[in-house]
Structure formats: structure tokens, C-alpha cells
């Protein structure tokens, strides 16, 4: 009886511990996060149906750390002519006229201790946007695809077969301080 109880207890603790580890690993991972945005902007309409290149709006993805959210004025490049009567487009026009920018809900979060540079991947590594962000051109509401965990980053770095450029020896998969500083 005592032995059976002990075994049960050990299994119980083990199960609890495993649950705890699983739970704590999922903290702050926000896969499939698709918050409601102030404007019903559809990537499917823009990038999918109308074939607008991603970097037309997210122009700093090739140059800098952030891909960025396009300035409201950039929307107006097209929307001064296109669908000017849509209530969603009116929100943009209103923002431009009032001088108060749109407050989007941020979808992809990286913690302060992880450094990610879009230019490094988009410009140097020639990684397509979809590889990390999923089939954005089919999404009506923007949704986070990968879980953005470290394991998720590393798995790609370990498996990719991109030749390291010039004198730079590796795809920097192994060194902590390539991302953490």
C-alpha cells in the first residue's frame, strides 16, 4: 500500500512538473495571435489580390532593423484615388487630416533581450517574408504564424543551406551574442 502510494505520489509530482515546464515554456509565446485592428486592413486584398510587393509598404525591411508599419501618408499614395468612399479608407483620410496617426495593435513581439534585424534576413539572407510570417497574402486579418521562440529561430538557422557570404564564416546559429546583447 505504502509503496503504491509512494509511486503514485512520485508520478503525480512528475506529471505536475512536466505540466509546469510545458506551461512556463508557453509563457509569452503568442502563436496565432490575431488582434482586432482599428482599421479592417486586409493583407489578402493588398498583397494577394492586388500583388503589391511587401516592401512597398514595409520599406525599411531591406535597410534596417525594423520592417516598420507604413506611415499613413504612404497609404494615401493609392487611396487618394482608390476606394475613397470606403469607411475604412475614410479613417485613414481622417488620420491624415487630423494629424493623429493610427494606433495599430502590434502583432509580433520580441523581448528586449533578443535582437532581430530585418535587413540581415531580407537583404543579406534573401529570406522571403512568408518564411517567418506565413502566407500573409492570404490573410484577411494579420496573424502571427511562428511562435517566435528561440527554438523556432534556431531550427531555421541549423537547417538552412545558405552559403555564408564572403569572409563571414557561418550562419551565426551557435553564438548567443549574435542575438542577445
Amino acid at each position: 500500500m505504502k509503496i503504491a502510494l509512494s509511486i503514485l505520489l512520485i508520478i503525480g509530482i512528475g506529471f505536475g512538473a512536466a505540466q509546469f515546464v510545458r506551461f512556463s515554456r508557453s509563457i509569452d509565446f503568442t502563436e496565432n495571435y490575431a488582434p482586432q485592428q482599428p482599421i479592417k486592413f486586409s493583407h489578402k486584398t493588398h498583397a494577394g489580390d492586388n500583388q503589391i510587393a511587401c516592401v512597398y509598404c514595409h520599406y525599411s525591411a531591406e535597410q534596417g532593423r525594423h520592417a516598420g508599419i507604413p506611415p499613413v501618408g504612404l497609404c494615401m499614395n493609392c487611396h487618394t484615388h482608390v476606394k475613397t468612399d470606403s469607411p475604412e479608407v475614410e479613417k485613414i483620410i481622417k488620420a491624415v487630416e487630423s494629424g493623429k496617426s493610427i494606433e495599430w495593435q502590434k502583432v509580433h513581439h520580441l523581448p528586449d533581450f533578443a535582437y532581430f534585424n530585418h535587413a540581415q534576413h531580407v537583404n543579406v539572407g534573401k529570406v522571403s517574408c512568408q518564411e517567418c510570417h506565413g502566407q500573409v497574402q492570404t490573410m484577411d486579418v494579420m496573424k502571427q504564424t511562428g511562435n517566435l521562440s528561440m527554438g523556432w529561430c534556431i531550427s531555421c538557422h541549423r537547417n538552412s543551406e545558405i552559403a555564408p557570404p564572403q569572409d563571414h564564416k557561418s550562419l551565426s546559429g551557435g553564438d548567443c551574442a549574435k542575438c542577445h546583447y
Binding site: R65, V72, W104, Q166, G174
Partner: protein
């Protein structure tokens, strides 16, 4: 270990007078009990359990709530074609805060300045910066700055005060009263023009240039000697012998960065084996003195005698009778004669500099340099048309006139006489009679507190300006951020009050377009000139320097009577706090003084001999009686100080300032005086005695001594010429228990030339700014919890009364076989493939084993979440660097973000990385170019070549940890 190394160890280095005898090192001091307290109050075991229980129950709740933390992303309304999110922009500007006006490059991210670097295009600072320049970016985000103009202490608007101020200025003119415009030294053509216009438009304005302990004495002396009110340009790089007499020219003064650049070139054994010979004669230990090859310690009173006798012997030897001087009897005769004979051997290739505030002394120094034929060779009078230098006597005369009720208005621009005049009671009394007092200060100070109106000036990063930094060389300032508060450029305020509506930017442009360009023979389109000048930050008119006229002194020399056998209190300037303007800058407050290693305080610098007779030790509170008033102040025993002098730093004891500067230390200005036309340092101390009380001085360097190991290695030039490896025995044969790391790709390494490093500590502040190093405050520095990633160790050798000094920058040396890595239970510190020791904050659980196991004591632990409560101050944070939280270890990362950025840039352009492309923060700011960084796998890199030098060594090599940071031995020319 090799026997030769053991022999070296016999050289007895030590760090602090009280640590000299190793057997007496107080272990209690080294391992203070207080170090392990958390917070200010002790907690009992029961409290601990309560807190523990609470935190455990709260944890799951807190984390589950955090699952999705909604954040907003707000784009720009319209694309700014200059700003790309995540990409830094650099702008050239000029620092207006100190007389050297270093040209700078300002790094801005998303429109906010976050880091300052030297502008390599400047012929003067040549890319170097001092601690003050580095820290000035933090002053921009000083939340104590004036938010708007003030009238009688209440915030108001510019419109409201402008009409009243103008009315008051006009009223004085009609009442037959005068208006005083008191400003700091003028360096720019536009400011000079505004001041002239202001004068002309009212007709009753007196302009008084006020800057105590500045150039007043030397400018007056130059006027007497050469008939020109100019300052000197020194060419240290053309000199063989330099003699500094009480002159701290490498640290303070009007041009420390330019002089350090030149000085270090003459200390570079890769350039020239004939090193400069530097003799320093002084009573206090200065940074410059600590770098001298020979240092002569004399009393404060003897400084004048020394100059007099030096002139006498040099005139005697050359048969010149330029100035009628007689030798004054003194026991310094052999010392003076030896200095004279060295100077006479280097005629036309020597420089004598004096930091004396006495006009007669400065005239004599000019005569010495003239007899030696140094003018137009190593020294020229810099004929700067647009500079106006201070005259101490003018301000004293102004006070007399104010007492005589002559003035109706006074305007203060960049001056603070309510703090830095020696008799502030008199200033207060005299200025009470002036009806309208207007301050143009940027932040509250003692003078703005006494002013009826405050029209706040902008920080130099918010405004336009121009400066003549050398004859015909101009530096330009441009705003790199929109003004943070409702303030206005001081010059613009003056323009408004004289009824003009031009902006200062247009004023500068018009002046250059209509007048100055023609004057300098520039042709072409103005906008092209302007764009280039603003882009470069520098415009060089390439004027041919005018010859220095012959020395012609006609007046009567008034010899100060040598006073002997009395104790003098001498005030001095630190290269962090300078004269008090930067008191509210916590980076500078926490920067350890290069000599005393003290932070957050000034103190009475006492010689070891005096300390012994009066039984004083460091940290004792002493009572001194000066000028009839008593003062209680902590003492600090400092080697190399003359027994008849005690030193006290200027710049402390501010009563009106932001939270970092208020009430730190004591004000030293009351212990100065005005005599023979200038402000003088060195008042008599009637008595000095111990109070028996102790004071907590936050020193960063009492807690480690060299323990007889050859951490610094040095030799003399004579020995070096015979054997370049002299003083650096090397030959440590090591057996490693570790396998070798793979060494392909880039392999980073750093090397520091101890012969060039002056110890100025500019790198410390540069590192602070680059790497988000927190300020911990005095109490925590006292608890040995300072956070600087880079520190400067200062070692003494030899005589207590006059030791030789070595400065050694010390940071994580990035060991190949790092002891910290093997003890980390969570692998939070590991070796990278390019040879760096990485610290991973998100893995660190704070066991501190690594810090315990580090032989170099360079790891820093976050005992607390250091203050980030000031939202404005947080704007200075580098967004590429993690802000570390409580419980995490950190240390030098070799600016990994800069390495990554450099590599990325090369990759983007599809080319290999060039040597020298990546510059670390400390390396970039170093005015002595003492730091070399690069890839040792590149045989053509500077570091690969220099690593082969026989002077190269690594600290504690015998431990077998294989550091990546090495040093070059110091070579003294003696």
C-alpha cells in the same frame, strides 16, 4: 612561471598610500559586510519567508495574465525621408559647453540623440572626446531644465517677458543707468556680432566676460608680452622637451583633447623612437603630472619662485637680458638648474606651460619660451579674430559699479557668479540694487534663482551656432533634435530684446553669406558652402598663421613675495566636474576621478606626510580654518602632493541644481581670492585638525592591490632602445588542460598602449553611453557595486611623496579559457566562435559564481533595478542594447552591437569587412588613440602587426586563461 617574471615582481607597485604595506591590507575593508545587504533595511528570516510565500503564490497569476501583452504600434503620419526606423543618423555639431569646442558627431535614432563621438574631420580634436563631451548628451535629457521662461519664479511665456524685458532695457537707457551683459568667453563670430549689435542698439551696454580660473592671467600676460589679447596654439608634436608648471593641460585647461592628441603622438613608439620628454613641476597630483617622465613636487608658493629662477638661469646661460629678474634664494636650485639645462638643450623644440593664475608668472613663462626660441616653432599666438577672452578685473569692477548703483539691468549668459565668485555675499548685496536681473541659463542655477526673469537657453544639441576654434578654423553647431522644452537660443533672446525678428539661424547664415565668406576669399554659391560646412561641422579657411611678434614687456614686474612655511589650500579642476557647470550630470558625478578614484564628492587632498603628522587617514572628517571661517570636510590622503598644500576640487557644493548635483561636496570658490588683477588660488590655512568623525567616501579603488604581480609592466627609454622587450620578460610556458578553440573566421582582439593612455577616463563615459550602463549612486559605489564595464586602474611605484603613476584601462579581457565560463551552472556565459566571452542576460540566474572566479574582477552584478523612473532621461538609452534587470550579471561585450553592425554593413554591400571599419566605443572616443581593435586572423590588420611588438603582454598570462585583450609596456623617457 619564468624566473625573469619573478624578478620583475620585486618592483614594488602599490595602489594607495594606506595599502602600501601589503601585510596591513585590511581584509575587512576588502570584504565589507554591508555588501550582502539588500535594500536599506535588514529583513528578518520571518519577513523573508513571508515575502517568499507571497512571491510564489503571485507568480502563476502574474505570468498567466502576461500571456498576451497588447502593445501598440504607431507609425509616422508621413514618411520622413531622413529617418528609417532602426537605422541611425549621424550629424556633425560642435560642443559649446567648454572652451575647447570639440567638433562632434551625434548619433541619433528615430530622431533622438543617443551617443556622441569625436569628429575626425576636426583638425583640433581629430576624433577625440573628453568625458564631458561624452556625458553632454545626458544633459540634454535633464528633466530639471527650465520647461518655459520664468518671471519671479513662475512659469510664463516668452511673449509676456519679452515686452517687459525690452521696456526695462529702454527704461535704463532713458534713466541714465547702464545695462550689463555678463557672459562666458566668446568664441563665435555670430555671438560676437549679436553682442555688438546689442551694444549698439541700446548704447548703454557694458559687456563683461567672466570665467573665473580660465585664461584671464595668460591672456593679460600675452597682452603685456606681445601686445595681443590672444591665446597660444601649442605644437606638442614638434617638441622634444615640455615642462608643465602646475598646468593640467592634458585634463582641463582650454584645449585638453587637442593637446592629448599631440602628446600621445609623441609617445607612440611605432611612429618615433625619440619620445617626448615631459617634466612636470607641481604641488598637487594632476592627471598631467601623473603622465610625466619626471615629476618635481614643490610647494604652491614655490611655483612662482621656480618660474622666476628658471627664467633667471636660462637668461644667464644664453646671455639674454629680456626681463630683469634676479634669482630668489631657494633650496630648489639643483632642480631648477637641471630643468633649465634640459630646456637649453632643446632650444626651439621645447615648450614651457604654466597653469598659474598670476599675470607676472605668465609673463615670465612667455619670456622663457621667447629666450628659448620656441615661438613660431612650437608655440604660436593664435590670432582668433572672433574670440573674446575673460578678464577677471572687469567683473570685480562691475561689482564696484553695481554697488555704486550704476546699473539698471544685468543679463547673465552662461555664467553663474552667485556660485563661482569667491565672495557670493558681496555679489548678492551688490546686485540687489539692480532692478532687473535676467538669466539665460538652460537649467536652474544659483544665478537664475536670483534673477527676476529667466529666458532659458537651449542645450547645444538643440541650437545653431558657430565658433572659431582655432585661427581661421570654424566649428558649426546644428540642432539634432527639436527643442524639448519651450526655450529659445540665448542669442535669439538678445535679438528679440533689441527689436529684431530674425531667427538666430538666419542671422548666422546672413553673417556668413554677406560678410565672412568674402573675408575668407570664398567664392561660389553660398548654399553649397553652407551645406558642406554643416555636413562636415568644420570649415577651415586655411589662413596662414601670423607670426608671433617679438617679446616686448615694458611694464614693471611685481614679484610676489615668496611666503614660506605655511599651509596653503589650493583649488583645482577635475576633468569630470570642471568648474561646476556639469554638476547635475550623474555620469560625470559617478566617473571615478582619474587620480583619487573618488566619485560623488570633493574632499581635502592631503599629502601622506601631513596626514602622518596630523594623524589623518582617508575618510576622516577634518576641520580647517581658512579666511576666518571654519569648514568640516572629508580628507583623502593622496601621494604626490606637497606637504605644505591641501587641495580642494572646484565644481561641487552646488545649492541650486537638479537632483544629481544638489548638495554634493562643498563649494571651493570661497577659498579663492582676487589679487593683482586675477582670481587666485592658494589661500592660507590657519589650522587643520581631525574631528574624530568618519565620512563615507565612495572610492572605486581601495579594494584591490597588485599583490606583487606584474600587472603593469614598464621600462625606461634607455633600456628599450637596447632591448625592445625590456621590462616585458614574457616566456611564460603554459600547459593547458583545455583543447584549443577553432580559430577560423574573424577572431577579435584588443590592445592598449600603456605608453599612450593618459588615464583621462573619457572611455568610461563613452562605454556608459553606448552600453546603457546604469548609474548606481554614491551609496552603492561605497558598497563596491559600481557598474562601469570599463575601469581605469591606477598604480603607484616608488616614493610616497612623489610616486610614479601608471594608468591601466581594465575591462573584460575575453579569455579563450575563461574561468567564468566553467563555473556558470546555467551556461549564461560562453565563448563565441569569434573569440569573445559572451554574457547572456536572459539565461543568467545571478549566482555570481562567474564574478567570484574572474581574476580580473571585471564582472558587474545588477543588485537592483537601477532607476529608470525618469522617463526623459531614458531617452538616452541605446535601443540596440538590453536594459538589464535586477539579478543579472553583466560586463564588457566588446561592443558586440558595433561588431554586428559593421559585419552587416559589409554583408549588405557584399564585400569583406575592412580593418578599422569597426570601432569600439572606448576606442573611438580615446583622445590618445591608445586602443587598437581588430581581427587577428587578418594578417594585414593593424592589430595583427602590433601584436608582434616585443612590448606586447597580457595581464596575468601565467594563469593560462589566454586573454584577448593585451597591453604594451609603458616606456618612460628618463
Amino acid at each position: 612561471m619564468d624566473n625573469k617574471t619573478n624578478e620583475m615582481n620585486l618592483e614594488n607597485y602599490w595602489q594607495d598610500v594606506e595599502d602600501k604595506d601589503y601585510s596591513e591590507i585590511d581584509l575587512k575593508e576588502e570584504f565589507t559586510e554591508g555588501t550582502y545587504q539588500i535594500g536599506l533595511t535588514k529583513k528578518s528570516r520571518r519577513d523573508f519567508l513571508k515575502i517568499m510565500g507571497f512571491s510564489l503564490s503571485v507568480l502563476p497569476m502574474a505570468t498567466s495574465c502576461k500571456k498576451i501583452s497588447a502593445q501598440k504600434a504607431i507609425p509616422y503620419l508621413h514618411k520622413n525621408d531622413q529617418i528609417t526606423p532602426g537605422v541611425a543618423n549621424w550629424y556633425a555639431t560642435t560642443n559649446s559647453l567648454c572652451p575647447s569646442h570639440c567638433s562632434l558627431l551625434v548619433k541619433t535614432r528615430e530622431g533622438r540623440p543617443i551617443k556622441i563621438e569625436g569628429n575626425p574631420l576636426s583638425p583640433k580634436s581629430q576624433g577625440g572626446t573628453c568625458p564631458v563631451c561624452q556625458a553632454s548628451v545626458l544633459s540634454l535629457y535633464d528633466s530639471s531644465r527650465f520647461k518655459a521662461p520664468k518671471k519671479n519664479g513662475q512659469y510664463t511665456t516668452f511673449e509676456a517677458i519679452d515686452s517687459e524685458v525690452r521696456a526695462s532695457l529702454l527704461k535704463a537707457a532713458s534713466d541714465g543707468k547702464r545695462t550689463a551683459l555678463i557672459l562666458n568667453s566668446v568664441y563665435g563670430p555670430s555671438l560676437l556680432n549679436v553682442v555688438t549689435d546689442f551694444k549698439n542698439s541700446f548704447g548703454n551696454v557694458d559687456v563683461i566676460v567672466y570665467n573665473p580660473f580660465g585664461e584671464s592671467a595668460s591672456v593679460r600676460a600675452n597682452s603685456l608680452s606681445f601686445g595681443r589679447e590672444d591665446v597660444f596654439n601649442y605644437k606638442l608634436d614638434k617638441a622634444k622637451v615640455i615642462v608643465g608648471i602646475s598646468s593640467d593641460f592634458l585634463a582641463t585647461g582650454s584645449d585638453p583633447i587637442n593637446l592629448t592628441k599631440q602628446y600621445s603622438k609623441r609617445k607612440d613608439l611605432f611612429l618615433d623612437k625619440n619620445l617626448i620628454r615631459h617634466i612636470q613641476v607641481e604641488s598637487l597630483m594632476t592627471l598631467t603630472g601623473s603622465n610625466a617622465d619626471t615629476r618635481i613636487v614643490i610647494s604652491h608658493d614655490d611655483e612662482s619662485t621656480f618660474i622666476n629662477n628658471l627664467l633667471y638661469y636660462i637668461q644667464k646661460a644664453t646671455g639674454s637680458r629680456l626681463l630683469p629678474v634676479e634669482a630668489i634664494d631657494s633650496d630648489m636650485k639643483p632642480k631648477v638648474q637641471s630643468v633649465a639645462s634640459e630646456l637649453l638643450k632643446a632650444k626651439g623644440e621645447s615648450i614651457v606651460l604654466s597653469g598659474s593664475f598670476d599675470i607676472t608668472d605668465q609673463v615670465k613663462v612667455n619670456a622663457i619660451n621667447f629666450v628659448l626660441g620656441n615661438f613660431n616653432k612650437t608655440i604660436t599666438l593664435s590670432s582668433r579674430e572672433f574670440n573674446r577672452h575673460e578678464n577677471d578685473a572687469d567683473f570685480v569692477k562691475f561689482l564696484e559699479d553695481a554697488e555704486g548703483d550704476k546699473y539698471g539691468n544685468v543679463i547673465f549668459y552662461d555664467v553663474n557668479p552667485y556660485y563661482d565668485y569667491f565672495d557670493t555675499a558681496r555679489v548678492e548685496q551688490a546686485l540687489k540694487k539692480i532692478e532687473t536681473k535676467i538669466s539665460l541659463s538652460t537649467a536652474p542655477d544659483e544665478t537664475s534663482e536670483h534673477s527676476n526673469y529667466v529666458a532659458p537657453d537651449r542645450h547645444y544639441l538643440e541650437k545653431w551656432d558657430d565658433f572659431e576654434i582655432s585661427q581661421g578654423v570654424f566649428g558649426f553647431s546644428q540642432p539634432v533634435i527639436q527643442s524639448l522644452f519651450n526655450n529659445r537660443t540665448a542669442q535669439e533672446s538678445l535679438l528679440v530684446w533689441m527689436g529684431s525678428s530674425t531667427s538666430y539661424e538666419d542671422y548666422i547664415k546672413t553673417l556668413w553669406e554677406n560678410k565672412l565668406l568674402k573675408q575668407f576669399g570664398q567664392v561660389g554659391i553660398f548654399q553649397n558652402f553652407w551645406n558642406k560646412a554643416i555636413h562636415d561641422g568644420i570649415f577651415d579657411a586655411h589662413l596662414t598663421p601670423s607670426d608671433t611678434p617679438a617679446f616686448k614687456f615694458a611694464g614693471q614686474l611685481t614679484n610676489k613675495k615668496p611666503v614660506t612655511a605655511s599651509l596653503k589650500l589650493k583649488v583645482y579642476e577635475k576633468n569630470s566636474m570642471r568648474k561646476g557647470k556639469f554638476a547635475n550630470n550623474p555620469w560625470l558625478q559617478e566617473m571615478p576621478d582619474p587620480i583619487t578614484k573618488a566619485t560623488w564628492d570633493n574632499y581635502l587632498m592631503v599629502s601622506p606626510k601631513l596626514a602622518k603628522t596630523k594623524d589623518i587617514s582617508t575618510g576622516d572628517l577634518v576641520r580647517i580654518n581658512v579666511k576666518g571661517s571654519e569648514l568640516t570636510i572629508p580628507a583623502l590622503v593622496q601621494s604626490g602632493v606637497h606637504e605644505s598644500v591641501v587641495g580642494l576640487a572646484l565644481g561641487y557644493g552646488r545649492t541650486v541644481s537638479g537632483r544629481a548635483g544638489k548638495g554634493v561636496g562643498v563649494n571651493a570658490y570661497p577659498f579663492t581670492s582676487f589679487e593683482s588683477g586675477t582670481f587666485q588660488s592658494g589661500v592660507e590655512v590657519a589650522s587643520i585638525e581631525k574631528t574624530g568623525q568618519k565620512y563615507k567616501l565612495a572610492l572605486t579603488q581601495t579594494h584591490h592591490s597588485m599583490e606583487g604581480r606584474d600587472i603593469v609592466r614598464e621600462t625606461t627609454l634607455g633600456n628599450y632602445v637596447v632591448d625592445p622587450s625590456a621590462g616585458n620578460p614574457g616566456g611564460v610556458k603554459l600547459v593547458s588542460m583545455w583543447g584549443n578553440h577553432k580559430k577560423d573566421g574573424h577572431q577579435w582582439a584588443m590592445m592598449i598602449d600603456l605608453n599612450k593612455c593618459t588615464g583621462c577616463s573619457g572611455c568610461v563615459i563613452s562605454c556608459n553611453a553606448e552600453n546603457n550602463v546604469p548609474v548606481v549612486g554614491k551609496e552603492e559605489v561605497y558598497n563596491r557595486r559600481e557598474m562601469h564595464w570599463l575601469r581605469l586602474d591606477r598604480y603607484y611605484k616608488g616614493d610616497d611623496e612623489n610616486p610614479e603613476v601608471v594608468h591601466q584601462p581594465m575591462m573584460c579581457v575575453h579569455c579563450d579559457n575563461a574561468p567564468c565560463e566553467t563555473v556558470c551552472p546555467v551556461l549564461a556565459t560562453v565563448q563565441s566562435s569569434d573569440g569573445l566571452n559572451q554574457q547572456v542576460y536572459n539565461r543568467c540566474v545571478g549566482t555570481r559564481y562567474c564574478a567570484n572566479n574572474c581574476p580580473y574582477k571585471v564582472r558587474r552584478f545588477n543588485w537592483f533595478d537601477y532607476a529608470h523612473d525618469d522617463k526623459l532621461e531614458n531617452m538616452v538609452l541605446n535601443p540596440d542594447i538590453t536594459v538589464r534587470t535586477r539579478g543579472v550579471m553583466e560586463k564588457c561585450s566588446m561592443c558586440i552591437q558595433r561588431i554586428q553592425e559593421g559585419k552587416l554593413q559589409a554583408k549588405k554591400e557584399g564585400r569583406p569587412l575592412k580593418d578599422g571599419e569597426i570601432k569600439l566605443a572606448c576606442q573611438q572616443s580615446c583622445p590618445a588613440d591608445a586602443i587598437v581593435f581588430g581581427d587577428i586572423n587578418d594578417p594585414e590588420s593593424e592589430i595583427s602587426k602590433k601584436l608582434k611588438d616585443p612590448r606586447y603582454y597580457r595581464v596575468l598570462e601565467e594563469l593560462g586563461v589566454a586573454p584577448r585583450v593585451g597591453y604594451l609596456t609603458k616606456v618612460r623617457n628618463k
